[in-house]
């Protein structure tokens, strides 16, 4: 039985305001920490030190960087299409806030428990590609448009294996509510019964968040900076903010669906939840610093020719096994 946030606060508008503030606060802290983690992790993988000067172990480095980004002049290049150019960072960030409210962090803590939470989550997360495309198109720059076009194709292609990998989990848990799916994993986490779906989901989620080795839309060595070439200052910061937040959402979803959410011995629920989410995030970061980038057509081929058939086969096998049990 999950609590209802609206009841606690009485007024639904107050509840929304408090929820949004809490989520944005968490996401800011999260971005600060993840950027530090990425820099330290990449440095250690590359035999370097990473930030060490600002604060103990360089922990305040990101704070200093955020301060720098916020204090920068918000330059708008002359040739961009202003409405699209200005709307894009907002459009990229807005779905993230909505999505974070759907995660059941612990048995007694969820903002609102929808019984179709999973569908809602997948639907809203599909809109982030709109923000990326508008960023590229509105920039009025060849490199940005190339990056945007690639991003749209990539996101659409990897949505299919993502959803196909999620369906077996739903069939096993017999509910679409994220809270319910976590509850259904009291005996064992679903990664043990759906290993293939877990791998497909992880790969597709890495592609959805435009992380390496699927980071073609922002491929630095080919397209300078892809769809956010023309952005600078805090607008550029918003894209990065959104990327790290998307990582949390993708890994959060993987945790809920496959790793059992808040389930775990000894420690309280929300501690386990965050441990699992951040372990997956470290894994995604490890991918980035190890693998080179796939070429765009190879990436698309991988999605359509490898992942989708595998996911369909997995779905069929799950159906048959569930029918037999």
């Amino acid at each position: 039985m999950s609590p209802n946030f609206v009841e606690i606060f009485g007024n639904p508008w107050l509840a929304i305001l408090v929820a949004m503030s809490a989520i944005i606060g968490y996401l800011t802290l999260n971005a600060l920490m993840l950027i530090w983690l990425e820099r330290k992790l990449s440095a250690r993988i590359q035999r370097r030190m990473g930030p060490t000067e600002v604060g103990p172990y360089g922990l305040l480095q990101t704070v200093a960087d955020m301060g720098k980004l916020i204090s920068k002049e918000l330059l708008t290049p002359e040739h961009v299409q202003k409405p699209l150019y200005l709307a894009a960072p907002v459009l990229v960030f807005a779905p993230v806030v909505a999505l974070c409210s759907l995660f059941p962090v612990s048995p007694s803590w969820v903002f609102h428990d929808y019984n179709i939470a999973l569908v809602l989550l997948l639907a809203i997360s599909g809109t982030n590609v709109l923000g990326i495309f508008i960023a590229g198109w509105g920039s009025n720059n060849k490199y940005a448009v190339l990056g945007a076009v690639r991003s749209v194709a990539q996101n659409i292609a990897y949505e299919i294996p993502l959803i196909l990998a999620v369906i077996p989990v739903v069939m096993t848990a017999r509910t679409l509510s994220l809270y319910g799916i976590t509850e259904a994993q009291s005996a064992f986490p679903y990664i043990l019964v759906q290993p293939l779906a877990a791998i497909i989901f992880l790969i597709a989620a890495t592609a959805e968040t435009n992380r390496a080795p699927f980071d073609i839309p922002e491929a630095e060595s080919e397209l300078v900076a892809g769809f956010h070439t023309e952005y600078s200052g805090m607008r550029f910061g918003m894209f990065f903010f959104a990327e790290y937040s998307n990582m949390v959402i993708a890994c959060g979803l993987a945790t809920v669906l496959f790793l059992g959410g808040w389930k775990g011995p000894l420690l309280p629920g929300f501690v386990w939840f965050f441990i699992k989410v951040y372990a997956l995030i470290v894994l995604m970061m490890w991918f980035r610093w190890t693998f080179p980038r796939l070429r765009f057509d190879q990436l698309m081929k991988f999605a359509w020719v490898v992942l989708v058939p595998l996911a369909i086969v997995n779905l069929l096998v799950t159906t048959i096994v569930l029918k037999l049990i």
């Binding site: 590359q46 035999r47 060595s221 080179p292 057509d297």
Partner: protein, 375 residues
């Protein structure tokens, strides 16, 4: 040309021009590639060079032979030692100066160490272009060891002026030889690691296999040399075909591959690093004691009137020095034939029909250094 200019071609296709460079993370220096694209496919590619033209050949006509010596290693700063020693050997051949044995062995060791450091930098930047950022730092870490070794005897890390007409500047001591031997032992293991991390990586193989195949006709028409030619199966190496210095005494193989795509070129360069290690180890074993400078070097360098050519195998291919001497101590004409000039002139033919992402892989794999194209 940075707005979206849609050019209506004859068959009414929407095509556009894109500039890669001169400021671009992947063009390895100031190179401008003007690409005519149809979607992601390249219809036409035009390399525009000259952004780094420093007039070395004009400088050669205004300095005497000894004064030009520092210029030589700046032509290709990654094979600076090889170029510097090549120039010394060219003049020594023209004047028939005999170089003492110890100096020859030192030249071999220094040249091969330079070749390894150039290939390491190529490996790091090639992977960087493909998106794998980590090997870049590992390669530079190994390269630091080589640079420290060469720094201890020459005083420079990148642009060496170590050779003199008749030998080398300074003798090497026991520490140098021990450090080099230690490096060889260490680097054998590193090469195995690179094979696993880089060459064995599936994504790397997907990006490089079948990409940028040099047809043998192109190689013949444009006088392609070096690893690009060896990847096609032709075992041409100036050190074997026209041996200079004491290369005949060393036992090393010339690695070749078959198809001539980016992957084969990478394999050839990895193998070349191993062969260079073999040469260095043989040189360390056999190096005699003695002087490092010839006894009789003329005070004024005046090659007899006429033309001279001297070629060496640099890390990129056949580097040729063509000197026209009028009998005075200033060269009348010095032409530096650099391998990257020939290689990049093949780009209009090789890049047509490839995709934009492949451009980066192909440019990286042919290993060009812009300063030696522009001189």
């Amino acid at each position: 040309m940075d707005r979206m200019e849609v050019v209506r071609a004859d068959d009414d296709r929407d095509t556009y021009y894109i500039n890669m460079g001169p400021q671009h993370p992947s063009t390895h220096g100031v190179l401008r590639l003007r690409l005519h694209l149809d979607g992601e496919r390249i219809i036409d590619a035009e390399p525009i060079i000259g952004y780094g033209h420093r007039a070395h050949e004009k400088m050669a006509e205004n300095r005497d032979y000894l004064q030009f010596l520092p210029n030589t290693s700046r032509v290709d700063y990654l094979s600076g030692m090889i170029y510097n020693l090549a120039y010394c050997q060219a003049i020594e051949k023209a004047l028939e100066i005999e170089v003492p044995e110890r100096a020859e062995y030192i030249r071999i060791i220094a040249g091969e160490l330079n070749r390894i450091s150039s290939h390491l930098l190529w490996l790091g930047t090639f992977l960087l272009d493909l998106g794998g950022i980590t090997p870049f730092l590992y390669c530079f870490d190994d390269r630091e060891k080589i640079l420290d070794i060469l720094d201890s005897v020459t005083g420079s890390r990148l642009t060496y002026c170590y050779g003199r007409f008749g030998g080398v500047t300074m003798d090497v001591d026991e520490t140098f030889l021990e450090n080099t031997a230690a490096f060889c032992t260490y680097f054998h293991k590193r090469l195995v690691e690179y094979d696993k991390l880089v060459i064995g990586n599936v994504i790397f193989q997907e990006r490089t296999k079948g990409v940028g195949i040099f047809a043998p006709e192109i190689a013949a028409r444009y006088a392609v040399t070096g690893p690009c030619l060896r990847a096609l199966g032709q075992a041409r190496d100036v050190r074997k075909d026209e041996p200079y210095g004491i290369y005949e005494r060393f036992d090393f193989a010339v690695p070749t591959c078959e198809k001539g795509d980016c992957f084969d070129r990478s394999i050839v360069r990895m193998e070349e690093m191993r062969q260079s290690l073999a040469i260095i180890e043989q040189a360390l074993r056999d190096i005699p004691s003695g002087p490092v400078m010839a006894a009789k070097v003329p005070k004024r360098i005046r090659p007899p009137e006429g033309e001279y050519h001297f070629g060496v195998e640099s890390a990129r291919g056949h580097f040729g020095i063509y000197i026209v001497s009028d009998g005075s101590d200033i060269p009348f004409r010095m032409k530096l034939r650099t391998p990257s000039f020939a290689h990049i002139s093949t780009m209009p033919e090789v890049l047509v029909g490839t995709m934009l992402a492949d451009t980066v892989a192909i440019l990286g794999s042919i290993d060009i250094v812009i300063p030696e194209i522009d001189r």
